[in-house]
C-alpha cells in the first residue's frame, strides 16, 4: 500500500507543483523515487515529529499541499497537538500519512501498533480520516485528499496488500465490494477488509449471504454518504483499531436508531500480546473464521 501511495504521489506531483513531501526520517526504499524526482518539494525533517508537523503547517500556509510521512503513531499521536492547533484549527492543506495502521507492524510491539489513531484524529476540526483497504483505495484516498485541500489523515497499511476490488469513486461513500440486500452487512475500514471478504465467502459456501462494504472515508463531513449502509438492519463494523472511539463508534454516532451495530475491534487487553499481524488479528477476532462466527451470531 505504501508503494501505491508513493507512486500516486509522484503522478500527482508531476501535475501539481504545490505537492510537498516531508518525512520523519522514515520511508527507506519507499520515498526515494519521489525525493529524486522532486528534490525542491521534498524534505527529511529528521526524527522530530512535532517540528515536522509545525513545519508542514508553515509550508501549507504558503500554498503547498504537504504530506507528512512516518510510521504508526509517530506522525499522529506524538505530535497530536501540532496537528490539532497548527494544521486543523488553521484548516491547512496537510495530509498526515502513517504507514502501519492497526497492527501491521505486529512483532515490533505495542509502540508500533496504531490502534488509537482513528479515534484521536477524527475528533479534530476540519479533519477527514482516510483508511484505505487496498492499493487502489490508497491511490483514491490520496486523490480525494488533494481534491479536498484541507486537513486529512491517510492511514495506510504496510506492504504487499492484495487488490480487493476495482478502483472506484471514493467520494460516493462506502464501497459495496460484495453487494446484496442481506439483512447483515460487514462495514469495514482498512486492510482488514480482506478477512471480512473471506468471512463472507465462508458464509456464502454455507448458503448464507452477507454484504461487505469498504469504508475508507471516516468523517462526519461525509456522514450522508453512509446512507447506503442503513438499508441493512444489522451492521458488523470491522476495524484494526481499539474499540473506543474508532470506526464502529463513528458509525454508531451517525446511524439511524433502527440500525444495530456490532463492533469488531481490538480489545485493550491485547496490548500485552506479541505476534504477527495475522496472529494479532486472530487473537482479536478479526480473522475470517472469527468474523464468520460473529456474523452467524448476528443472524
Amino acid at each position: 500500500m505504501r508503494t501505491a501511495f508513493i507512486n500516486e504521489l509522484i503522478l500527482q506531483a508531476r501535475k501539481n507543483p504545490k505537492i510537498f513531501l516531508v518525512v520523519g526520517d522514515l520511508g527507506f526504499s519507499v520515498i526515494e523515487p519521489y525525493a529524486e524526482e522532486f528534490p525542491n518539494r521534498y524534505l527529511n525533517a529528521g526524527v522530530a515529529e512535532q517540528n515536522m508537523t509545525s513545519v508542514a503547517a508553515g509550508l501549507a500556509s504558503e500554498g503547498y499541499h504537504v504530506f507528512t510521512y512516518s510510521i504508526a503513531n509517530f506522525p499522529t499521536l506524538r505530535c497530536f497537538e501540532q496537528i490539532r492547533n497548527d494544521i486543523c484549527y488553521h484548516n491547512l492543506p496537510v495530509t498526515v500519512v502513517a504507514v502501519g495502521g492497526g497492527v501491521a507492524y505486529g512483532n515490533l510491539g505495542y509502540s508500533h501498533h496504531a490502534v488509537q489513531d482513528i479515534a484521536a484524529l477524527r475528533t479534530l476540526p476540519n479533519m477527514t480520516v482516510f483508511s484505505p483497504a487496498d492499493p487502489g483505495e490508497a491511490s483514491g484516498c490520496l486523490q480525494f485528499a488533494l481534491q479536498r485541500g484541507r486537513p486529512s489523515y491517510l492511514r495506510l497499511g504496510k506492504a504487499g496488500e492484495a487488490k480487493l476490488h476495482e478502483p472506484c469513486d471514493l467520494t460516493q461513500g462506502p464501497v459495496p465490494v460484495r453487494a446484496g440486500t442481506a439483512p447483515v452487512a460487514f462495514a469495514v475500514t482498512g486492510s482488514v477488509l480482506k478477512p471480512a471478504l473471506e468471512a463472507a465467502e465462508i458464509l456464502s459456501q454455507r448458503g448464507i449471504e452477507v454484504a461487505v462494504y469498504s469504508c475508507p472515508v471516516i468523517s462526519g463531513e461525509f456522514a450522508g454518504a453512509f446512507k447506503t449502509l442503513w438499508r441493512h438492519q444489522k451492521i458488523i463494523s470491522v476495524e484494526e483499531h481499539g474499540f473506543a472511539g474508532g470506526f464502529g463508534s463513528f458509525l454508531k454516532e451517525i446511524c439511524p436508531a433502527n440500525v444495530h451495530i456490532r463492533i469488531c475491534a481490538i480489545p485493550e487487553a491485547n496490548a500485552a500480546l506479541v505476534g504477527s499481524q495475522e496472529v494479532l488479528r486472530k487473537q482479536a477476532g478479526l480473522d475470517a473464521e472469527s468474523l464468520a462466527r460473529t456474523a452467524l451470531e448476528a443472524i
Partner: protein, 272 residues
C-alpha cells in the same frame, strides 16, 4: 510598506493600550506584553515590511507571535498601525470578539494562532523554508518567551533551522527571566542561553530589549551571519514601564484595578 513610525511614542501607545485592554477584560498576562512592547515598536515601526491596508500582501515579512498569551501587545501594535480600527481593541476578551485572549489568526495582520507554547518557531521554520524553496525575499520573525523554551518542540526547531540554512528566519527571545511559577533560573534554567543557540549553529546577538537603538541596530543587519538563522536574545523586564509590575511574578496573572490603571497610564505617559 509601512511608513516609519517613531518608535518611542509607538511603544508608549502600545503599553497604554495593553493596560486598557487587560483591565477592561479582567485579563492576565500583562507583564509579558509590556516586556516585549519595545521590541514590537521597533519591529513594526522600522523593520517589518508590511502593509496595514493590505494585511495579506504576498511580499510582506511574516511575524509569528509564539508567546500567544501576550497578544495584547500585538493587537495594540496592529491597531495602532492601522490593520484594524483602534476602537476594536475595546472588544478584547469580550464574548464574540475576534480579539481572543491568545493571539488569533482571524485578526488582520496576525499570521498564526498560538496559545500552547512551543508551536511558533516550527511554524516559522516552515514559512522560512517555503520562502527559500520559492526564491522569495520576505523574512520570517518569531517572538518567543523564555519560559516556552522549556518545550522540546522548540529544540527540534532550533536544530532544524540552521541545518536548512534558514537565514531568512529571526527568532527573538523576550528574555524577561520570569515564567509561570517562578523565575526561569528556579524553574528550569536556560543559562547560558546564547551559548545554547550558538552550539546549535545560530548567529546570536544579545541586547537590552528596551533600548530602541540596540534593537534597531541589530534588526537592520539581518541575517546576523549569512547562511545562519538569527537569534536575538532581548534581555527585558517583565512588566516594563509600570514600576509596581516590574519583575513581579504576580503580574503574569493579576489584572490592575482602577487606581492601578491610573498609576500605570501616568507612568507610561502614552496619552489618554
Amino acid at each position: 510598506m509601512n511608513s516609519k513610525f517613531e518608535t518611542q511614542p509607538l511603544a508608549r501607545q502600545i503599553r497604554t493600550e495593553v493596560i486598557k485592554m487587560v483591565a477592561a477584560a479582567s485579563a492576565s498576562h500583562v507583564g509579558g506584553a509590556l516586556s516585549m512592547a519595545d521590541l514590537l515598536a521597533v519591529l513594526y515601526g522600522e523593520i517589518l515590511r508590511v502593509k496595514p491596508e493590505q494585511p495579506a500582501w504576498s511580499e510582506r515579512d511574516r511575524f509569528i507571535l509564539s508567546k500567544g498569551h501576550s497578544c495584547t501587545g500585538v493587537y495594540a501594535t496592529l491597531a495602532l498601525l492601522g490593520f484594524f480600527p483602534l476602537a476594536e481593541l475595546q472588544t478584547y476578551g469580550q464574548d464574540g470578539s475576534r480579539l481572543m485572549t491568545h493571539v488569533s489568526h482571524k485578526v488582520p495582520g496576525v499570521e498564526f494562532s498560538t496559545g500552547s507554547l512551543g508551536h511558533g518557531l516550527g511554524f516559522a521554520c516552515g514559512k522560512a523554508l517555503a520562502a527559500k524553496r520559492q526564491n522569495k525575499n520576505w523574512r520570517v520573525f518569531t517572538m518567543l518567551s523564555d519560559g516556552e523554551l522549556d518545550e522540546g518542540s522548540n529544540w527540534e526547531a532550533i536544530l532544524f533551522a540552521p541545518h536548512h540554512r534558514l537565514d531568512n528566519l529571526v527568532a527573538i527571545v523576550d528574555y524577561n527571566k520570569i515564567q509561570s511559577l517562578g523565575s526561569v533560573k528556579e524553574v528550569l534554567d536556560l543559562h547560558p542561553l546564547a551559548e545554547k543557540f550558538r552550539a546549535f549553529n545560530w548567529a546570536v546577538q544579545e541586547i537590552d530589549g528596551h533600548n530602541h537603538n540596540e534593537i534597531s541596530a541589530a534588526l537592520k543587519k539581518l541575517p546576523f551571519e549569512p547562511g545562519k538563522p538569527s537569534c536575538l536574545i532581548a534581555h527585558t523586564i517583565k512588566g516594563k514601564g509600570v514600576d509596581y509590575m516590574e519583575n513581579k511574578l504576580l503580574w503574569h496573572y493579576r489584572t490592575p484595578n482602577v487606581e492601578q490603571v491610573a498609576t500605570a497610564l501616568k507612568q507610561i505617559g502614552g496619552g489618554p
